[in-house]
Every structure is written in C-alpha cells, then in structure tokens.
Symmetry: C2
Subunit: 263 residues, 2 copies
C-alpha cells in the first residue's frame, strides 16, 4: 500500500486484544469491526480500507452502516476481481480462516463475476506465521496437507483451477512456501492440464483502487513525500504490535499508541 500511496496519510488500528477474528462468530466479528470503524471515523478517516479478510467477509455491511458517508473498501471484492483478471479457466482456489471460508464470501463475490471458487479453511497458518516458522519444515508439511486436500476437492468437483487466492492478510508472509508446496503437488499428481497454479493476493489491487478513489498522484510522481505519514494504534501490547507489524510492513514501526475499544 505504501509504495502505491506515498502522499496519503495512514491511520492503522490493530485490534490485537481480541484477535484472532478468524475463529469467531459473525456477530462477534461484526461488533469488533464496528468499534474499530467508529475509532477510525473519529480520527478523521476519509476512506476506510478493511485490511482483514475475515472482517471484510463477515462484517462489510455493518462496517458500511457505521462508516456513514465515508467510502469503505474490503479486500474480498478486490481479491475476487484479481482472481477474475488472472484466471483463464474461470476456476480459482481460495484459502483463508475458518470464519472467512464458512461465510463463502469469496465464492459469492467470485460467482458474481462469473468465476467459480473452491474455498478451504487453513486455521493453523496464522499461528505458524505468528510463531515465525516461515521457512520451516512443519509449515511446509501443514501446507502439503491443506493444499493436497484442496486440490483433491477441486478435482472431485471437476474444476480446472489455475489461480490460488491468499484470502488472509497473514498468508503473503508464507507466499514462497505456499508456491513451493503447490508446485510440488501439481507437478507430481500429473492431472493438471490447466498448467501451474498462480498465487495472487489482493494487496496491490486494493492499493490501486484506493489511489484511484482518492485522486492521489500515481506512484513515482514528483510530489511524493519522502516519508508517508503513518499513525499506528493497537488494543493490546504496543511492543508485540511493533514486532509483528514491522514484519508485515517490511520496515520498522516506531510509535504505537494503546487504545481501548471496550472489552
């Protein structure tokens, strides 16, 4: 997002006291997402990006209600649009949390674009990323198990998937092991006439959409500031947010403010 929107001001709130959302119910996820929405609106947000697949999948309507006139962009709709743009066969695979997959939000959004989506919940991947086991044999084995089940299920349904959508914001951190596992599985079983499966995520597409919506200069334009303005808020331990957040952002996070959203 940052390299695409160097002139925007970013306010990020991480609801770290109540994470993970992915294993919880719709009602609870919606209540949490609405409290974060109100916080960001109070901070003066003019555009809201829901950078969490689970909240986008289960609470987008509640978030839009709470945001009033402020536009809201979820990652599911951009993910589905990316899937459509990337898939030749019109069949895609999606991996995500329990809650995202049970909501079938990707299948619905892809279906609206004429794309078939086969979804698979992978609840151990977030804990493995949080443990820091990125290039680790256990993560490789867990991926082989989840992805071989997903590939078997798409074969059962006579789907010719050529695209895999990373349907959770943690997954880009294990993109390389996901691509390796997928490559091994599809080359060994020999029944993938559609060729290799391409891995995509919605981050790039989301940044492009936000830039267009806000009429911000294109990347690389001369008006770009040296350092984007960023503020970070977390509902639990600022130290932990700094550590994991810096890995996600790819650069150090200095100041994190603790906020209480209730609960």
């Amino acid at each position: 997002m940052l390299p695409r929107l160097p002139d925007a001001e970013f306010v990020y709130v991480g609801d770290t006291a109540r994470l993970p959302y992915g294993s919880k119910s719709r009602a609870t996820i919606a209540r949490y997402a609405v409290s974060s929405t109100r916080f960001l609106i109070d901070k003066g947000a003019e555009f809201l990006v829901i950078a969490c697949n689970t909240a986008s999948a289960l609470a987008i309507d509640d978030i839009r209600d709470a945001a009033g006139p402020v536009p809201v962009l979820g990652v599911i709709e951009t993910g589905a649009a990316e899937a459509k743009a990337n898939s030749t066969t019109g069949d895609v695979l999606v991996i995500g949390t329990d809650a995202t997959v049970q909501s079938h939000a990707y299948a619905t959004a892809c279906g609206a674009l004429g794309v078939r989506a086969i979804e698979k919940a992978c609840p151990l991947l977030v804990p493995l990323v949080e443990e820091g086991w990125i290039d680790h044999p256990v993560t490789a084995e867990v991926l082989r198990i989840y992805l071989s089940e997903l590939l078997a299920s798409q074969a059962d349904q006579f789907v010719a998937a050529d695209t895999l959508v990373l349907g959770c914001t943690h997954y880009p951190l294990i993109r390389a092991p996901i691509e390796r596992a997928l490559g091994e599985l599809t080359s060994s079983v020999g029944n993938f006439p559609q060729g290799p499966i391409r891995v995509i995520d919605s981050a790039e597409a989301t940044a492009t959409r936000v830039a267009a919506a806000l009429n911000l200069p294109a990347p690389g334009a001369s008006s770009a500031k040296q350092k984007p303005v960023m503020s970070f808020f977390a509902t639990d331990s600022a130290a932990k947010f700094r550590s994991l957040g810096s890995r996600f952002l790819g650069q150090p996070i200095e100041d994190v403010t603790l906020v209480d959203l209730g609960g």
Copy 2:
C-alpha cells in the same frame, strides 16, 4: 473435577469471544479475567476456580480483588504443589502459553516450595488441539521440536528434571503424544540419569482442594447425585463452545447461554 465433586453446582464461563489469552499482555488478560469474575460472582459463586493457567499466572491478584470475600483458587499454585509432591530431584519442566511462561509464575510458585522450574512457551499446541490434530504426525513433530529445545535448555542449566507440568488447560488433550515424544527424546539422548520424566497436570489436585475447601462429601459417598448441576456460558458462538467443550469435558454439553461481558 466432576467425578471428584458430584454434589457441587458448577457455573462455567468460557470467554470464547476474546480467546486466546496466552498471546496477550498482562493488562488485557487482567481486564478480561476481572469481567468473567464479576459475572460469576453475580451468578452467586461461593468458590472460584480459575481453570486457565494464563489467567492464574497473570491476573490472580486482580481476580481476588474483584472476588471480594469469595475464595479464589488458581491452577498455578496447585500445579506447583503437585510438582513438588511428584519430583524426587526437585527439578521440574513446565510447558505453557507465551504469556504464562513470560510471567514466570510457575518458576516463582515452584521456587517458593524449593523446586526449580524450567519453563518453555509452546504457542502452537493450542491451535493444534483446536484443529483436532491430536494423534497427528504434525503434532508429534511440533512436540519433538519444543520438547527437545526444553530438554537441551535444562541440560545447559545442569537441571535433573524428572517431572513435566502441563501448564495449559488444552494440553491434557494431547497428553499421550506428549508422553510419547518425551519417552523417545529421553531414551535416545542417553543423558537422563534421573530416569524417565513423568507428566502431571493440576486438574486432580485442584478438584481435591476445592472439595476440601467446600466440605463436600468424598467421591463415591452415598449422597452423590446422579447428575451434577452444570450451567455453561460463553461470550461467542454457543455452537462452537458445545463442540470443543464436550471434548474437554468428556461428555456432551447441551445448553450453552451466550453472554456479553463487554467488548
């Protein structure tokens, strides 16, 4: 607890909307634990058992403050007493969540009894139990990694541990794989003059203490009711609580009431 206390009435609250506690900060865990405490006191509790190692480790003082005159028993103190009773060498190993281990609550409680404790955080074990991967090669491999690191660290510190405390309420569900991994590791390295390491948890000892404190009849006494009275409350999806809770309890849970503790 149930077989030891057939005449007690149980009110259980599971804070499923905000779990897990084990990866969060002391302040957040204390706030959550206090809200559950107030709920149980309002329900008329005459004795409070903190059946969560993380809450016992980080919030026992806050819980006692909130409980007022109602006695509070945490699982750390009974776990430490069990460790003392079981260990011949006076050296024990403890596995638990990140928060429990970082608090060093077990080392402190064991130290007060003259027992040395070496602690190790095992953050992937709760997600593996929740995924239902009990007798699973991935769980076996994760246990080999965590336990071999723990055994290497006790060897570095010239500790002759003969006891391993299960310092998290999820771990008894993978007691068999833990015992297998421990058996393999201690038989192969050959430097365990103290003999095999015994696995213990604090559940039995906790139940015995509660029975004594409440002057309840001993197990098997003729006054025992056929079915103990139990009420279950959860802060998130009752369906999910029923499913996982039944596995913990070892018998079906029928009625679960959804409650809002705020947040």
